[in-house]
């Protein structure tokens, strides 16, 4: 095997890992800042300039906290829970195309850790494993509030995964591929999938909120009913891992939304930029555009969090099973009819 490709991929993996961590870190700050701004406050601004060192201070605080362990028979599972949550949150970033391609040293460098054909399936699979982190953690805590949170999280995630998968099927019928790289490449300029599949986007967005356990679907950790939900018994950095995994998940699902529906790294005038400014500069702009889209979605997550109150549990299940799933099935049928309209016309004898 070519040794340079190993170096290239290692660098990409390292950078992607670092960026995911950094984004998750600063999402915590952004969350607090956005919360403050939406409530006419200023937000944390003492640690560093404008509060920029606040995530570090928070992390340091969590590290220095007492490592508490409940009297549980499942001590191993208690440790495994946050680890699963964290690793599944980070694993998804492997298949995301962060940019088109750089041209350095006479070779093309593709900005993607690995371009597998079933990338989308992989993402959904890994995201569903994420529920194990919550489930195991809540179970092993030996606490009824944790268990309640875990049960809620599990049933919520399983319910919404169905609608999420179905909403993506309509998109896949259009793109004809599961590779995120090809899906990105199919949306040049402003030909974003969101304009062709708005209903699919809408369902996917709602399901993404539910999958990341964000308000209005944060029943797994609703403070008013379940103390802290599944992480009631966790403290110190294990708690930090759960919180961090939530923000990493948010970042990843924002990225998936941007790649699937908002054209990924594509922007209007990209081909013009490639011709006039060269591949590399056009690509740098592309990465910046992708991150702008991601940040937009992260902001949307926070904006919604501070606007909509939490659903009641039966409303949540009603929305998932009786609204979103039928809607996505209708969407699949409509998409199918539109794709096969020529054949249908012939069949009907027009």
């Amino acid at each position: 095997m070519d040794s340079s490709i190993i170096i290239e991929k290692s660098v990409i993996i390292l950078v992607v890992f670092a960026i995911t961590m950094l984004m998750a870190m600063y999402s915590t700050l952004a969350e607090r800042k956005v919360a403050a701004w939406l409530q006419d406050r200023i937000g944390p601004n003492r640690a560093g300039k404008g509060g920029l060192l606040q995530p570090l201070a928070d992390g340091l605080k969590l590290f220095s906290k007492e490592e508490f362990e409940p009297n549980t028979p499942n001590r191993f599972l208690f440790f495994v829970g946050p680890a699963i949550a964290m690793s599944t949150a980070l694993m998804t970033s492997a298949v995301i195309p962060w940019g088109d391609r750089f041209h350095f040293f006479g070779r093309d460098i593709i900005l993607q850790a690995t371009d597998i054909d079933v990338a989308l399936l992989y993402v959904i699979g890994v995201m569903s494993v994420g529920v194990y982190g919550i489930m195991i953690g809540g179970w092993a805590s030996n606490n009824k509030f944790s268990l309640m949170g875990a049960v809620r999280a599990a049933s919520q995630m399983i319910s919404y995964e169905v609608a999420m998968g179905l909403s993506i099927i309509a998109l896949l019928m259009m793109t004809g591929t599961l590779s995120l790289r090809e899906i990105s490449a199919q949306q040049p300029g402003m030909h974003w999938n969101v304009f062709y599949q708005p209903l699919s986007f809408f369902i996917f967005l709602i399901c993404a909120f539910a999958e990341t356990n964000r308000t209005p679907f944060d029943l797994a950790e609703c403070e008013t009913e379940l103390i802290g939900g599944y992480h009631t018994e966790y403290s110190s950095m294990k708690m930090g891992f759960y919180l961090f995994a939530e923000y990493a998940n948010m970042f990843i699902s924002s990225t998936i939304l941007a790649v699937l529906f908002f054209g990924g790294y594509n922007y209007p005038g990209m081909s013009w930029a490639v011709e006039n400014w060269g591949v590399n500069i056009a690509n740098v702009i592309g990465i910046a555009v992708l991150f702008a889209k991601i940040c937009g979605f992260i902001f949307l997550y926070m904006w919604v969090r501070w606007t909509i109150p939490r659903f009641r549990y039966d409303q949540l299940m009603h929305l998932g099973w009786r609204v979103l799933i039928p809607l996505s099935i209708i969407n699949i049928i409509i998409t199918g009819i539109v794709i096969l309209r020529a054949e249908i016309a012939i069949y009907l004898g027009f």
């Binding site: 956005v34 701004w37 939406l38 409530q39 006419d40 406050r41 200023i42 904006w303 919604v304 501070w306 606007t307 909509i308």
Partner: protein
């Protein structure tokens, strides 16, 4: 006038239990409306007062720490009549009266003065009734922004004459200002 038409608050509203239409049941319109309201707040002026750097502006009728006044010649006004202690709803004031010696004429204005004058700051509610009751213009609630300092010891909250009586140099300065005017 029938009882249904009367509205005491002026905000009377009939409760309606009408069925929601399909679009209302979707809640999308309501959610978008809510999002618009929250985003508006992103751009409004922030109400936070950055405390150590900025201090909240006090009300013009703010009543702070008490002060026992001196007159232009630096003599204490208080004659220990006890009206302030009587008017105090929190019973925070105690005093002990004493007769003025002939050689203390430069210290006290009247023939009787308060040898001990104490306000329990834990009891005081800063209502200003002592100030209203005082016939000799002796006790005032100042606009001082210095709050009663915290302490572990209850004794520290009983302010005696050492903390309450107006310092002599301020009294002299006031007298000079008065003469200049």
């Amino acid at each position: 006038m029938s009882i249904e038409a009367i509205s005491l608050s002026g905000r009377k509203k009939l409760v309606s239990n009408k069925e929601m239409t399909f679009w209302e049941r979707m809640y999308i319109v309501a959610i978008v409306k809510g999002l618009m309201i929250t985003i508006k707040h992103l751009f409004t002026r922030k109400v936070t007062i950055q405390y150590p750097e900025e201090v909240r502006e006090m009300s013009p009728v703010y009543r702070g720490q008490h002060m026992l006044k001196r007159d232009e010649q630096g003599r204490e006004n208080c004659t220990a009549c006890g009206l302030c202690a009587l008017s105090c709803p929190a019973e925070a004031i105690t005093m002990k009266a004493e007769e003025r010696k002939p050689d203390e004429k430069h210290l006290y204005r009247e023939e009787k003065y308060a040898s001990i004058y104490e306000i329990n700051m834990l009891r005081c509610i800063f209502c200003g009734l002592c100030e209203e009751a005082c016939p000799k213009d002796a006790i005032y609630l100042t606009t001082s922004k210095v709050l009663v300092p915290s302490s572990y010891d209850r004794e520290d909250f009983i302010f005696g004459k050492d903390k309450l009586v107006m310092p002599l140099d301020i009294a002299m300065k006031n007298a000079q200002l008065k003469n200049a005017n």
